[in-house]
Symmetry: C2
Subunit: 338 residues, 2 copies
């Protein structure tokens, strides 16, 4: 990102008709967008694509979630038909949803609205063996990069991450613990809803996996292969694809945060392109955002995923660019600052 | 509001393709909108008007703010010209801004885009005498009611509160302390930016005013007249006007919260029509929202006012209605809940 544009945006924020800093995080996001676009004011990112990546998780065999894996397919088809929460929130925000099967386990009929890029029929059980081979992890990363490139070739100015995969908060907590070094209990939550006993079991499963694989954070592909998921790999690629083309990415919840930890471990320059959409009901989000150095725009107690938190944040990101473009300066308005 | 529609909305939330409660506050707002509209799903409130009310404050003589009163007029004209933050954020959210002079002190040329409804040329210094007469307070309330009715006659489906008035956080903290019974220090903040010494002085001014007037919370017009502002009175009327027509109101920051305390004291039924847009950098927001029983949608560290927090919350309110209208049910998607 461009230090000259950042400095210009900081100076412009100070000149606009508002007390210094009074627009809070919106001011910082505006400055970040200027740095990314290398120009101040930055363009308002009107055209947005939510990349939803679906995959399954062998670790479901350990009872980490009450939902059966059939739900991954059912929700994939629901998203393709426009009936899921992400469809509704993306429509509200004016964003397009692109749904990609990168690792769904079960069969389903060919469906319009699902991009078939299946790398493997779900991961293996990360608590007893590596979730993926390195080749599978890299192939899923490539699916994400390709998806970003297609969206950007189609005119997208900002990308949002989304996902669907029963069991994927377990893999995400494992990834966040492995990359950040945080304790498993500190980064593991209730997903879409489990009780205390099930939470203790989920933590034990992740601890067993980390003890088994001893993933090395300096080898992010190895971490991904050991304890990750196909959709986490694809989202990491989606982030890298956006950053490589100098486009901002709005992260959703804990799955996106885990993927961002991988992406930034692979390419530290990607960090500057990340915008945190939603703060955490899942404790892993808090730990990952702290490691990434990001503050979230929305904190509504969502624990759904799919990209919903990112979609709710999109209008705020657009607003932060509009502020730099459209507000009057003190000089325009003939006001002496107090 | 309608208990039957509320019950229908609660049942519908449970039937939609998401884990129970996973959309957090959005689910509760959707249920509230159904109760207000007396139908489930509720209509999506697409047409929104931000009512911005401007007034001046005699208490500025006590040095409670570094900004000169000239800034009230300058910002009024800036808003009329479309250059203020609220214009930009309302445009992003698709809302119309209606600017009303209900109590500006200084002269300015006749200006398109400013509704002239001046009740008094600013309030008197609340720390030495009553800020308004009861008649002035009632006249300003009536300006707000009229403004709501005009907006609703024009087709607005949701109203947002906004304001401009140098010194108005001081009057707001005084109102919140008087109505809720909270201590002055607990509800007084830095406004758009003062240091520790000035904050201590502001608290002392408000304590002096409350000791002088001993406002009685069971007489909300008396409270308003003693320590309020013309724009707070108008916003209270704007809220009452919306509630009387069964339309939801999105509150902005501390000035709106103070006004809402007055409105709900006058008409407790108004409470069900309120949606909190922005949580507090100003501590008075926290106290007032707690007294009102509301949780805020946005918490971005804004301390600007104008209606900016309400404008950022509008897409979320619209999204909460869309969810009830547009999401598929588990039956639609052939999913058995886990």
């Amino acid at each position: 990102t461009s230090q000259r544009a950042v400095a210009a945006a900081e100076a412009r924020q100070a000149s606009l008709t508002k007390p210094a800093g009074s627009l809070g995080l919106l001011e910082r996001i505006g400055i970040q967008l200027a740095g990314i676009a290398r120009v101040c004011p930055p363009p308002v990112p009107e055209r947005a694509v939510v990349g939803v990546f679906a995959g399954d998780h062998g670790v479901c065999a350990q009872g980490v979630t009450p939902w059966p894996q059939e739900v991954t397919v059912a929700m994939l088809l629901n998203m393709a038909a426009g009936g899921a929460a992400i469809n509704v929130l993306a429509a509200q925000a004016g964003a397009e949803v692109v749904v990609t099967d990168v690792g769904v386990k079960l069969d389903y009929p060919p469906t319009d609205g699902v991009r078939g890029r299946n790398v493997a029929r779900g991961t293996r059980d990360l608590s007893v063996e590596a979730a993926m081979t390195r080749d599978e992890a890299i192939a899923a990363l490539a699916v994400g990069i390709d998806t970003a490139n297609e969206a950007l070739d189609g005119g997208a100015q900002v990308l949002l991450t989304g996902e669907m995969g029963i069991g994927n908060t377990t893999a995400s907590s494992a990834l966040i613990a492995a990359i950040t070094g945080a304790g498993v209990a500190a980064v593991t939550g209730r997903g879409t809803g489990i009780d205390n006993e099930a939470l203790a079991g989920k933590i034990a499963v992740i601890e067993r996996a980390l003890a088994l694989h001893r993933p090395d954070p300096s080898d992010p592909v190895g971490v991904l292969a050991a304890v990750g998921g196909l959709e986490q790999a694809a989202i990491a690629g989606f982030i890298l694809g956006a950053a490589a083309r100098r486009v901002p990415v709005i992260l959703d919840g804990v799955i996106a945060c885990a993927s961002a930890c991988i992406a930034v471990s692979l390419a530290p320059e990607a960090r500057g392109y990340l915008i945190a959409g939603h703060a955490g009901a899942e404790p892993g989000i808090t730990e990952a955002l702290s490691w990434l150095g990001l503050d979230a725009l929305v904190d509504l107690g969502l624990r759904l995923g799919e990209g919903t938190g990112a979609a709710l944040a999109l209008p705020m990101v657009q607003a932060s660019a509009r502020i730099l473009r459209d507000m009057a300066t003190f000089d325009d308005a003939n006001i002496s600052a107090g």
